[in-house]
């Protein structure tokens, strides 16, 4: 969470709202913020920390681990129409890469604005693809891995 919080300004500048969620109560969130997170990141976590009591929301999102009774690491990118554009689910011991999240947000925003497609590993300013009959079998001419 602190890793996401550290990049919050950049996410905010992309017009992205962050909601974090675990099965802990909002009261535990308050203690975590005050006792630890605020010491890891200046000002602490700036986004709402949600409580998913009993994992009811996590179940629907396919991230609730019944045996452990907690939500695993699941990250969902939702567009302004409320549609899920990307999801990533990791088991608990491995943390996420915020860099890749930000890259995906930029790519999805570009695609939404232009109707183009972005090839593997695309970064802003790099070659995009314009899908259509003319591109079939010709991707090699405009893009190589």
């Amino acid at each position: 969470m602190s890793a996401v919080a550290a990049r919050y300004d950049e996410l905010k500048s992309l017009g992205v709202e962050v909601l974090s969620m675990s099965t802990d109560s909002q009261f535990v969130h308050k203690m975590w913020q005050e006792e630890e997170l605020s010491k890891m990141v200046k000002g602490g976590v700036p986004f709402p920390m949600l409580s998913d009591a009993g994992g009811r929301i996590g179940r629907i999102y396919g991230v609730y681990d019944e045996e452990a009774g907690v939500n695993v690491r699941g990250r969902f990118l939702i567009d302004p129409d409320g549609v899920i554009q990307a999801m990533e689910i990791l088991s608990p011991p491995v943390g996420r890469n915020v860099e890749e999240l930000i890259r995906q947000i930029k790519a999805f925003q570009h695609v939404r604005k232009t109707g183009e497609a972005t090839p593997s590993g695309w970064q802003p300013g790099k070659t995009t693809l314009k899908p259509g009959p003319d591109l079939v079998g010709k991707v090699w001419e405009v893009w190589k891995p």
Partner: protein, 83 residues
């Protein structure tokens, strides 16, 4: 930033089912429905309401409060864990 005022928050709804018909159906049916995973890319994100901590206070938040915006929802195993 102003502190959220709600001292003791009303219980949050949790998952919010899509249609009116779902709400009027038998409770057990609703629960069974809730248990099913129903997310995939290109499909609407299921709405929910959850109690939240923010700005030093507590507030109930719905995903649908954020319509027209890009939203990242991050689930994680628990507060005070190590990763």
């Amino acid at each position: 930033m102003a502190k959220e005022k709600e001292g003791c928050v009303k219980p949050a709804l949790g998952p919010i089912s899509g249609s009116e018909a779902d709400e009027s159906s038998v409770v057990q049916t609703a629960t069974q429905k809730e248990d099913k995973m129903s997310v995939s890319v290109g499909k609407p994100a299921p709405d929910f309401e959850a109690s939240a901590y923010l700005n030093g206070g507590f507030k109930n938040i719905k995903l649908s409060d954020y319509k027209k915006k890009w939203v990242v929802v991050c689930f994680y195993p628990g507060d005070f864990t190590f990763v």
